[in-house]
């Protein structure tokens, strides 16, 4: 290799390095605005969770503050304690019942609201309102204002109706919370979450392609045919999205279970159990194992949810 050639290679590789460096710098300039949010999120949400996994394998109790060795005992206790298994069952029941019922209600109401009728805006506003009551405030009013056997509205309505037929009958008492506590929690949650489902499904209905609906109408399709063959297939991903997001929120529900049925082992769910394990028992190892269990349950739902969101997302970006 001659000296000249050597010089040329050096220069060209220098230029290449320069271009490379510039591209790298450009990449970092683009990343900078993203970094604060990204780092903050990792530090505040991911690290505590990793620590949770770590603690879940340790013996750690507030009463015996010294960490003492690794153990699988926490997970063993989660899966062998009968009340904890019951709590898992309550959590699953709450999610399934509340999500399915509010989805069905939500779809029905969204279909009704999608028609044009007098006072549509007013009814739509009424339907949103339950979602805009602070959950703990709503739970307290359901507990003491509606479900309460003595002063509650349900007992009051029962008394009122009973008095139409038997004016001298004593006041009726409806004891929903003490007799069917889980049902009481489900009713209140369905009341608050149906509006959520309705809003998402209504948005889905309004994004149906109009030309195809028109063509169907021209071809003389009946309302049922349009619903079965056009609306439902189009709504599938909206139903999935509403159901999965609802499931993720309800699996974490604490306010209703805690306020409607305090200290009731028949409704206790996992978040409430974790709250108790940390607050009352101070058993950090066990609480962490319980936390890991609820995350695994959530991941099952979340995987499907992410898939649905990403298909909607891709569709939107393809437009």
């Amino acid at each position: 290799m001659t000296a000249v050639q050597e010089k040329q290679t050096a220069v060209s590789s220098g230029v290449a390095a320069d271009v490379n460096r510039k591209a790298k710098k450009e990449k970092w300039v683009r990343r900078i605005p993203l970094l604060p949010a990204l780092i903050f999120t990792i530090v505040v949400t991911q690290i505590p969770f990793l620590v949770t996994i770590w603690i879940s394998f340790r013996k750690w109790n507030a009463n015996r503050p010294r960490l003492s060795g690794w153990t699988l005992n926490n997970f063993e206790r989660v899966f062998t304690t009968k009340s904890t298994l019951l709590d898992l069952w309550h959590t699953a029941q709450l999610v399934l019942v509340v999500v399915l019922v509010s989805l069905v209600f939500g779809l029905g109401i969204a279909l009704l609201l999608n028609r044009r009728f007098w006072g549509r805006a007013a009814v739509r506003t009424m339907m949103i309102a339950p979602f805009l009551i602070v959950p703990v405030a709503a739970a307290l009013f359901w507990r003491y204002g509606i479900f309460d056997a003595q002063q509650g509205l349900l007992s009051g309505i029962a008394t009122m109706v009973n008095h139409w037929f038997h004016p001298d009958a004593p006041a009726s008492t409806v004891t929903l919370v003490s007799k069917h506590p889980l049902l009481a929690v489900e009713i209140a949650l369905i009341w608050q979450w149906t509006p959520f489902m309705t809003l998402i499904l209504l948005a889905g209905l309004q994004s149906r392609p109009g030309d195809i609906l028109e063509a169907a109408a021209v071809d003389g399709a009946t309302g049922w045919q349009v619903f079965r063959n056009l609306t439902l297939p189009h709504m599938r991903q909206y139903l999935e999205l509403a159901g999965l997001l609802g499931g993720i929120y309800i699996i974490q529900n604490f306010d209703y279970v805690y306020q409607l049925t305090k200290d009731n082992p028949n409704t206790e769910n996992i978040p409430y159990l974790i709250y108790k394990t940390v607050n009352a028992a101070g058993d950090y190892g066990l609480a962490s194992a319980q936390g890991v269990v609820i995350v695994i349950a959530t991941i099952v739902i979340a995987t499907f949810a992410l898939r649905t969101v990403s298909s909607l997302f891709r569709e939107e970006n393809a437009r």
Binding site: P33, L34, A37, F117, L132, L140, L199, R208, P209, D255
Partner: protein, 300 residues
């Protein structure tokens, strides 16, 4: 308000108008019946709130009668009691904590989310979709899962029963929602605008402030309102990490209105409704974008 959801993006508006038409043709008895049914359902869902408000204006004795009392005398007694007329427990420290926690965390969220959304929508970093889904997946992590470390960290750093610790957690709680919402708003802005701004020699900060902020203002407002609502409502974290009026927010205060010594339903209803008023206002103000926020930006 006929199609507020559709107005969020011009592409859906075009479809939305004809979408409703096939069902409009059906008038007559069936149509009227369906309209009445819709009204009845709406009223059923409104009923608990109606009775909450009604009870809140009734004297305690009438509030305790369980049959619907439409004609009981109206009074502000419940609201006076909620503000601590006879118990001596002032509600104001809790109001201040709630306002601090929700307003400051919302401002922090915006300060972090707007630049992030810029880096995800306008000049996207490579693999920006992966970053989006990372943010989303953190929202799927139940707060209960990180509770023990958060409690221990709070204890170690002196953050237990401190409002600043709650503010940090609420910021992290709402950041993913804000990033998703802001990205979808910024993605709607025509790229030519940014090119024009950069040709004029505007830097990032200047572009953000002068070009993006004015156009994205409705989106920023909706995002803030939704973050505000989520922070204002939060109970689980505040219940574990705070214990006194030094940092407790209104959701943690409300249950203390339930007493075993005296009648409390009027006071409780007043408190429940008063605490919900900011959420009702914010929710109706953000109505058009509510779906987008609740679905984490997936539905427009």
């Amino acid at each position: 308000m006929s199609a507020p959801v559709a107005t969020a993006s011009p592409t859906t508006t075009a479809h939305a108008a004809p979408a409703a038409s096939p069902r409009d043709g059906r008038r007559g008895a069936g149509g009227v019946l369906l309209s009445v049914l819709t009204w009845v359902i709406g009223l059923i869902f409104l009923a608990p709130i109606f009775f909450m408000v009604l009870t809140s204006f009734h004297p305690e004795v009438q509030a305790t009668l369980n049959t619907p009392q439409y004609f009981a005398p109206l009074t502000l007694h419940g609201y006076r009691e909620f503000f601590g007329a006879s118990s001596g427990q002032s509600v104001w420290p809790f109001v201040i904590n709630s306002v601090l926690a929700s307003v400051i965390s919302t401002l922090l969220v915006l300060a972090l989310a707007i630049p992030a959304a810029y880096a995800l929508a306008v000049k996207p970093v490579s693999k920006w979709t992966d970053v989006m889904f990372f943010f989303l997946s953190t929202k799927f992590l139940p707060a209960a899962a990180g509770l023990v470390p958060l409690f221990l960290i709070a204890k170690a750093t002196g953050g237990l029963n401190q409002i600043w610790f709650i503010i940090i957690l609420y910021t992290a709680m709402n950041l993913p929602i804000a990033v998703w919402m802001m990205r979808s708003f910024l993605a709607d802005i025509p790229p030519a605008l940014f090119e024009a701004a950069s040709l004029d020699g505007a830097g990032l900060i200047k572009t953000l402030l002068r070009v993006i902020a004015p156009i994205a203002m409705p989106g920023i407002a909706a995002t803030s309102l939704i973050c505000f609502i989520f922070s204002w409502n939060e109970l689980f974290l505040v219940n574990v990490l705070t214990s006194t009026e030094n940092a407790q927010t209104l959701p943690a205060f409300l249950p203390s209105l339930v007493t075993s010594q005296a009648l409390f339903l009027g006071k409780l209803s007043a408190g429940a409704f008063a605490v919900s008023i900011p959420v009702l206002i914010a929710g109706f103000a953000a109505q058009d974008k509510l779906v987008q926020g609740l679905s984490l930006g997936a539905v427009k």
